[in-house]
Symmetry: C2
Subunit: 108 residues, 2 copies
Amino acid sequence: MRKDGLGSINDLIHAKARLGIMSMVMTYEYCDFTMLKEKLRLTDGNLGAHIQKLEEAQYIITKKTFLGRKPKTYVSVTEEGREAYREYIATLEAVLYGEIFHEGEGDK
Amino acid sequence: MRKDGLGSINDLIHAKARLGIMSMVMTYEYCDFTMLKEKLRLTDGNLGAHIQKLEEAQYIITKKTFLGRKPKTYVSVTEEGREAYREYIATLEAVLYGEIFHEGEGDK
Protein backbone atom coordinates (compact mmCIF):
# COMPACT_ATOMS: atom_id res chain seq x y z
CA MET A 1 0.00 0.00 0.00
CA ARG A 2 1.45 3.38 -0.99
CA LYS A 3 2.67 5.32 2.00
CA ASP A 4 1.21 8.77 1.23
CA GLY A 5 -1.48 8.52 3.89
CA LEU A 6 -4.90 9.81 2.95
CA GLY A 7 -3.63 10.47 -0.56
CA SER A 8 -3.60 6.74 -1.15
CA ILE A 9 -7.41 6.57 -0.86
CA ASN A 10 -8.59 6.26 -4.48
CA ASP A 11 -10.88 9.28 -5.00
CA LEU A 12 -12.39 7.72 -8.10
CA ILE A 13 -13.85 4.95 -5.96
CA HIS A 14 -14.31 6.85 -2.66
CA ALA A 15 -17.08 9.15 -3.94
CA LYS A 16 -20.28 7.57 -2.57
CA ALA A 17 -22.15 6.98 -5.84
CA ARG A 18 -19.09 5.46 -7.51
CA LEU A 19 -18.38 3.38 -4.41
CA GLY A 20 -21.92 2.03 -4.74
CA ILE A 21 -21.47 1.25 -8.45
CA MET A 22 -18.14 -0.53 -7.84
CA SER A 23 -19.56 -2.48 -4.92
CA MET A 24 -22.49 -3.63 -7.05
CA VAL A 25 -20.43 -4.67 -10.08
CA MET A 26 -18.18 -6.60 -7.66
CA THR A 27 -21.27 -8.25 -6.15
CA TYR A 28 -23.27 -8.99 -9.31
CA GLU A 29 -21.54 -10.20 -12.50
CA TYR A 30 -23.78 -8.02 -14.65
CA CYS A 31 -25.72 -4.96 -13.48
CA ASP A 32 -28.18 -3.28 -15.75
CA PHE A 33 -28.63 0.48 -15.66
CA THR A 34 -32.10 0.33 -14.11
CA MET A 35 -30.97 -1.99 -11.31
CA LEU A 36 -28.07 0.35 -10.49
CA LYS A 37 -30.41 3.35 -10.57
CA GLU A 38 -32.91 1.74 -8.19
CA LYS A 39 -30.48 0.20 -5.70
CA LEU A 40 -28.28 3.31 -5.55
CA ARG A 41 -31.18 5.80 -5.77
CA LEU A 42 -29.48 7.93 -8.40
CA THR A 43 -30.95 9.93 -11.31
CA ASP A 44 -30.27 8.86 -14.91
CA GLY A 45 -27.94 11.82 -15.45
CA ASN A 46 -26.05 11.33 -12.20
CA LEU A 47 -25.60 7.60 -12.72
CA GLY A 48 -24.56 8.12 -16.35
CA ALA A 49 -21.89 10.65 -15.35
CA HIS A 50 -20.41 8.35 -12.68
CA ILE A 51 -20.45 5.35 -15.04
CA GLN A 52 -18.58 7.43 -17.60
CA LYS A 53 -15.85 8.32 -15.07
CA LEU A 54 -15.36 4.68 -14.08
CA GLU A 55 -15.34 3.66 -17.75
CA GLU A 56 -12.68 6.27 -18.58
CA ALA A 57 -10.56 4.79 -15.78
CA GLN A 58 -11.21 1.36 -17.34
CA TYR A 59 -12.61 0.06 -14.04
CA ILE A 60 -15.88 -1.00 -15.75
CA ILE A 61 -17.19 -1.72 -19.24
CA THR A 62 -20.70 -1.14 -20.52
CA LYS A 63 -22.54 -3.20 -23.13
CA LYS A 64 -25.61 -1.81 -24.91
CA THR A 65 -28.13 -4.33 -26.21
CA PHE A 66 -31.89 -4.74 -26.78
CA LEU A 67 -34.40 -6.82 -24.86
CA GLY A 68 -37.08 -7.12 -27.50
CA ARG A 69 -37.34 -3.52 -28.65
CA LYS A 70 -36.23 -2.13 -25.30
CA PRO A 71 -32.63 -0.81 -25.09
CA LYS A 72 -30.63 -2.27 -22.21
CA THR A 73 -27.23 -1.18 -20.84
CA TYR A 74 -25.22 -3.70 -18.86
CA VAL A 75 -22.26 -2.73 -16.68
CA SER A 76 -19.54 -5.10 -15.51
CA VAL A 77 -16.21 -4.79 -13.72
CA THR A 78 -12.86 -5.15 -15.51
CA GLU A 79 -9.82 -6.92 -14.04
CA GLU A 80 -8.28 -3.48 -13.54
CA GLY A 81 -11.40 -2.36 -11.68
CA ARG A 82 -11.35 -5.46 -9.50
CA GLU A 83 -7.71 -4.80 -8.58
CA ALA A 84 -8.30 -1.10 -7.88
CA TYR A 85 -11.30 -1.95 -5.67
CA ARG A 86 -9.28 -4.48 -3.66
CA GLU A 87 -6.50 -1.94 -3.12
CA TYR A 88 -9.10 0.68 -2.17
CA ILE A 89 -10.55 -1.62 0.51
CA ALA A 90 -7.09 -2.44 1.90
CA THR A 91 -6.15 1.25 2.07
CA LEU A 92 -9.49 2.27 3.56
CA GLU A 93 -9.26 -0.36 6.27
CA ALA A 94 -5.74 0.84 7.14
CA VAL A 95 -7.18 4.35 7.53
CA LEU A 96 -10.35 3.24 9.35
CA TYR A 97 -8.35 1.37 11.98
CA GLY A 98 -5.58 3.96 12.23
CA GLU A 99 -2.84 1.59 10.98
CA ILE A 100 -1.90 4.06 8.28
CA PHE A 101 -0.74 6.55 10.91
CA HIS A 102 1.74 4.16 12.52
CA GLU A 103 3.54 3.51 9.24
CA GLY A 104 6.98 5.04 8.93
CA GLU A 105 6.99 5.85 12.66
CA GLY A 106 9.56 3.13 13.25
CA ASP A 107 11.96 4.13 10.46
CA LYS A 108 12.54 7.79 11.41
CA MET B 1 -28.14 0.09 10.22
CA ARG B 2 -30.64 2.35 8.43
CA LYS B 3 -31.92 0.76 5.27
CA ASP B 4 -31.55 3.72 2.86
CA GLY B 5 -28.58 2.26 1.02
CA LEU B 6 -25.81 4.69 0.15
CA GLY B 7 -27.69 7.43 1.98
CA SER B 8 -26.79 5.75 5.25
CA ILE B 9 -23.07 6.51 4.68
CA ASN B 10 -22.35 9.47 6.99
CA ASP B 11 -21.11 12.22 4.64
CA LEU B 12 -19.66 14.17 7.56
CA ILE B 13 -17.20 11.35 8.17
CA HIS B 14 -16.85 10.01 4.59
CA ALA B 15 -15.03 13.09 3.23
CA LYS B 16 -11.37 12.02 3.14
CA ALA B 17 -9.88 14.75 5.37
CA ARG B 18 -12.58 14.31 8.01
CA LEU B 19 -12.25 10.53 7.80
CA GLY B 20 -8.56 11.02 8.54
CA ILE B 21 -9.27 13.32 11.52
CA MET B 22 -11.84 10.90 12.98
CA SER B 23 -9.56 7.93 12.49
CA MET B 24 -6.73 9.76 14.28
CA VAL B 25 -8.82 10.93 17.26
CA MET B 26 -10.08 7.33 17.56
CA THR B 27 -6.48 6.10 17.48
CA TYR B 28 -4.82 8.69 19.73
CA GLU B 29 -6.55 9.96 22.88
CA TYR B 30 -5.32 13.51 22.20
CA CYS B 31 -4.18 14.86 18.84
CA ASP B 32 -2.64 18.27 18.59
CA PHE B 33 -3.26 20.47 15.57
CA THR B 34 0.30 20.17 14.25
CA MET B 35 0.26 16.37 14.47
CA LEU B 36 -3.04 16.24 12.55
CA LYS B 37 -1.68 18.67 9.95
CA GLU B 38 1.48 16.63 9.38
CA LYS B 39 -0.04 13.15 9.38
CA LEU B 40 -2.98 14.16 7.17
CA ARG B 41 -0.97 16.56 4.99
CA LEU B 42 -3.55 19.31 5.20
CA THR B 43 -3.14 23.11 5.24
CA ASP B 44 -3.97 25.12 8.38
CA GLY B 45 -7.10 26.53 6.76
CA ASN B 46 -8.30 23.22 5.40
CA LEU B 47 -7.75 21.39 8.67
CA GLY B 48 -9.37 24.19 10.65
CA ALA B 49 -12.50 24.10 8.45
CA HIS B 50 -12.86 20.31 8.77
CA ILE B 51 -12.30 20.44 12.55
CA GLN B 52 -15.05 23.07 12.78
CA LYS B 53 -17.54 20.86 10.91
CA LEU B 54 -16.82 17.88 13.18
CA GLU B 55 -17.07 20.15 16.24
CA GLU B 56 -20.44 21.51 15.10
CA ALA B 57 -21.64 17.91 14.83
CA GLN B 58 -20.28 17.35 18.34
CA TYR B 59 -18.12 14.47 17.14
CA ILE B 60 -14.95 16.11 18.54
CA ILE B 61 -14.00 18.75 21.08
CA THR B 62 -11.01 21.08 20.94
CA LYS B 63 -9.03 22.44 23.89
CA LYS B 64 -6.74 25.46 23.50
CA THR B 65 -3.82 25.76 25.91
CA PHE B 66 -0.22 27.01 26.05
CA LEU B 67 3.01 25.05 26.12
CA GLY B 68 5.29 27.65 27.60
CA ARG B 69 4.37 30.66 25.48
CA LYS B 70 3.39 28.56 22.50
CA PRO B 71 -0.38 28.16 21.85
CA LYS B 72 -1.48 24.55 21.48
CA THR B 73 -4.83 23.14 20.25
CA TYR B 74 -5.76 19.61 21.26
CA VAL B 75 -8.53 17.65 19.57
CA SER B 76 -10.29 14.62 21.06
CA VAL B 77 -13.28 12.49 20.17
CA THR B 78 -16.63 12.72 22.03
CA GLU B 79 -18.80 9.73 22.92
CA GLU B 80 -21.17 10.86 20.15
CA GLY B 81 -18.27 10.94 17.70
CA ARG B 82 -17.13 7.49 18.77
CA GLU B 83 -20.65 6.12 18.21
CA ALA B 84 -21.03 7.83 14.82
CA TYR B 85 -17.65 6.49 13.70
CA ARG B 86 -18.57 2.93 14.70
CA GLU B 87 -21.85 3.18 12.78
CA TYR B 88 -20.00 4.66 9.80
CA ILE B 89 -17.59 1.68 9.73
CA ALA B 90 -20.45 -0.83 9.99
CA THR B 91 -22.36 0.87 7.15
CA LEU B 92 -19.27 1.23 4.98
CA GLU B 93 -18.38 -2.43 5.39
CA ALA B 94 -21.93 -3.41 4.41
CA VAL B 95 -21.51 -1.32 1.25
CA LEU B 96 -17.93 -2.46 0.54
CA TYR B 97 -18.95 -6.11 0.62
CA GLY B 98 -22.27 -5.63 -1.14
CA GLU B 99 -24.36 -6.76 1.84
CA ILE B 100 -26.32 -3.53 1.74
CA PHE B 101 -27.76 -4.47 -1.66
CA HIS B 102 -29.22 -7.77 -0.48
CA GLU B 103 -31.25 -6.09 2.27
CA GLY B 104 -34.97 -5.96 1.75
CA GLU B 105 -34.68 -8.38 -1.18
CA GLY B 106 -36.32 -11.11 0.87
CA ASP B 107 -39.27 -9.04 2.14
CA LYS B 108 -40.69 -7.84 -1.19
